[in-house]
Symmetry: C2
Subunit: 397 residues, 2 copies
């Protein structure tokens, strides 16, 4: 590249991304047992069904599906999605409050673009989803971690942070949190909605794992307690139908959604229509519920198998017991670094994500995230055996 | 919305978008003859073919297509696209230089995000594509128009602007420009590449209409004269296969493409894979060339019909005679406002886009853009008749 060309934009200066990209690159090597990703199980992806549905929608409405579409979404999908949210989540869906997006990541990005100026403060759980932390960092905002426990974000810590930092937004994953697996309790859901109103805070409620519940009863969304329009509900079909289709949605204040739609015009114009039409069929024909019921038992078995393996790990290894989702979070004693041990794990054929990447301020090298959905039972047995041995060695060094 | 919630982000303050959104909204009314959009003809959209291809790719590679994919693209598509660019456009495609994107708009956005800081200066043609002007405005950059004539951007004007404004980037549509229809001459293509090198300027070469050529010989891309990696070639399959699929690509300096890929991770993670797989089939099976040959005659007929109608317009009405693309640009005498006349045109049942929206600094109310591809021959006859009468009236007021 010629020296005279102008430099890249400053917003990329704090974006490394490379550590995680390297992890996923090695995790994708052949014969690697990967507990690193957040991928649905291959057997849970409805390829044959999508093949028939894709053909059918293109034959029945192909001229509209292949033409330019509205930024606000493919009308049949906007309709069936609103209906689904009313019935399935008891959410109110007002005029202009729903925006289909190209995967949950785009939803987060549009929200950040619409709401945040460089230098603004955003509260995040600690730990939290690294992908959306990168979206926030690209927006050059200040991230302030708020303490969580086994029941999710601690409202008293949220109130303290709201007072101390005058944040513009809270980013929260209330159900089967990534990476902690924690689910925000009912009382805390109400408290978050109330504190958002009290402190004039936007809440980005990221809820992609909600339908992957293996035990316990579903809880209402934070959004359902939102009286003043402060909460934006971020949904996705990536974990229930297919991540490759990239279909999600935002539900929030209509004025804010209009800003997001204007941002989307300058992002990808509209979410690809074929993809919206496919998800529309799952909702319209009532295929989504049965499909989820079909995949849940396999996911539950894998999670329980991995938990069973963790129980055989050396003393001092602690781990979460989520009621659903895709991840277990593991903690070794302080002073032990699984960030350092990662290279050795890779050499032995197993990948995970060191927990440090999920902490806004780093550290926490004694933690790691494990995904169980994308491995076979055999891989879980073998891979967890390798980790047990490795962690035993580093614990006794 | 509660008063206490923080305001929206400042980057939206200069974005109106509403005038154009209103135009497209009225243009979409039933029974409206719309020359306003840039839509491919309905009969040019290969719905039956896509239906079979979608079914086939999902049956043969559905597990991969429905799973998370790499930001850098679906490997078979990345491969066939590189091959296509080498063969069809004689472009060099080096390692890491190609990035599939979710439509041309995303390509532009990623490029702007990677290159431009607020306050940077970007040179644009005058007039230029309003959609990408909005992308630039969202980036809070300063737009400086550079004069064009019937052979496209004037190199002397470019050099003067480069000296005077120290711009970071030039945005240019060299072939069948939107809205002017002009095609940059061979000599000027070389000159643009040379000036980019001389002044350390990035060039965003937006070339979505290239394959819609009805007369004359194809010209090499500006990118093909780029010795120092200053030019990013922006391609799209929206005008040749389907805009609803949202598949395009960037070809440029590998270091810059890596920045764009990191930006894309925080935009939509990856372009939906089914859509990449469909376009891959068009390239891999050699279906694209024959499909384009099939649609060209109809487009040429429509353009010539609209040109024939324009010849019967009152004296003082001038218009472009492009060799391809989707648009004619019409100029009435100074002092006449077709921006004002728009509401009356709508009342009479015809929509167009007032040219003022394509000028970075507004004005030029005596100009308009007409699209011919998305109307039937009957609609062209009737709609142009209505405009001829209307313009006759306002010319003789």
């Amino acid at each position: 590249m010629n020296q005279r060309i102008g430099a890249f934009a400053k917003r990329f200066e704090d974006i490394t991304g490379s550590a995680i990209r390297e992890i996923f690159k090695v995790a994708a090597q052949p014969n690697m047992i990967s507990f690193a990703g957040g991928n649905p199980a291959s057997e849970a992806l409805p390829d044959a069904q999508c093949a028939e549905l894709a053909r059918e929608v293109l034959l029945s409405d192909g001229k509209r599906i292949l033409q330019y579409g509205a930024t606000e979404g493919y009308p049949p999908f906007a309709e069936s999605l609103a209906e689904y949210l009313r019935e399935h989540l008891s959410l109110e869906v007002g005029q202009g409050s729903l925006l289909p997006v190209t995967g949950g990541t785009q939803g987060m990005r549009l929200l950040c673009d619409a709401l945040l100026d460089p230098g603004d403060t955003v509260l995040v759980e600690c730990p939290t989803f690294l992908g959306n932390m990168q979206v926030l960092r690209l927006g050059q905002v200040k991230l302030v971690p708020v303490e969580s426990d086994g029941d999710g974000l601690i409202p008293e810590a949220l109130e303290e942070a709201a007072r101390a930092h005058h944040p513009k937004m809270l980013y929260i994953i209330p159900t089967f949190q990534n990476p902690s697996g924690a689910t925000l309790s009912l009382e805390r859901r109400k408290a978050v909605a109330q504190l958002a109103e009290k402190y004039g805070l936007w809440v980005a409620e990221d809820d992609p794992y909600r339908d992957l519940r293996y035990t316990g009863e579903p809880l209402p969304t934070i959004k359902s307690f939102d009286r003043a329009g402060h909460v934006v509900y971020m949904g996705s079909f990536s974990k229930t139908i297919s991540p490759g289709l990239r279909v999600g949605y935002l539900l929030g204040d209509a004025q804010l959604m209009r800003k997001c739609a204007i941002g989307k015009q300058s992002s990808d114009l509209h979410t690809p229509t074929l993809n919206q039409a496919l998800v529309d069929q799952y909702l319209r024909r009532g295929l989504l519920g049965p499909h989820i019921q079909e995949i849940l038992p396999g996911y539950a078995r894998k999670m329980n198998q991995m938990l069973g393996e963790l129980e055989r790990f050396p003393q001092g290894v602690r781990f979460t017991r989520p009621q659903g989702g895709l991840f277990l979070f593991v903690e070794l004693p302080e002073g032990i670094s699984v960030t350092q041990a990662f290279q050795e794990a890779i050499r032995r054929g197993v990948a995970y994500v060191p927990g440090t990447h999920f902490y806004p301020e780093g550290g926490h090298h004694n933690t790691l995230r494990l995904n169980f959905s994308n491995s076979t039972p055999e891989q879980i047995t073998r891979g967890m055996g390798i980790l047990r041995e490795l962690f035993g060695e580093i614990l006794h060094r």
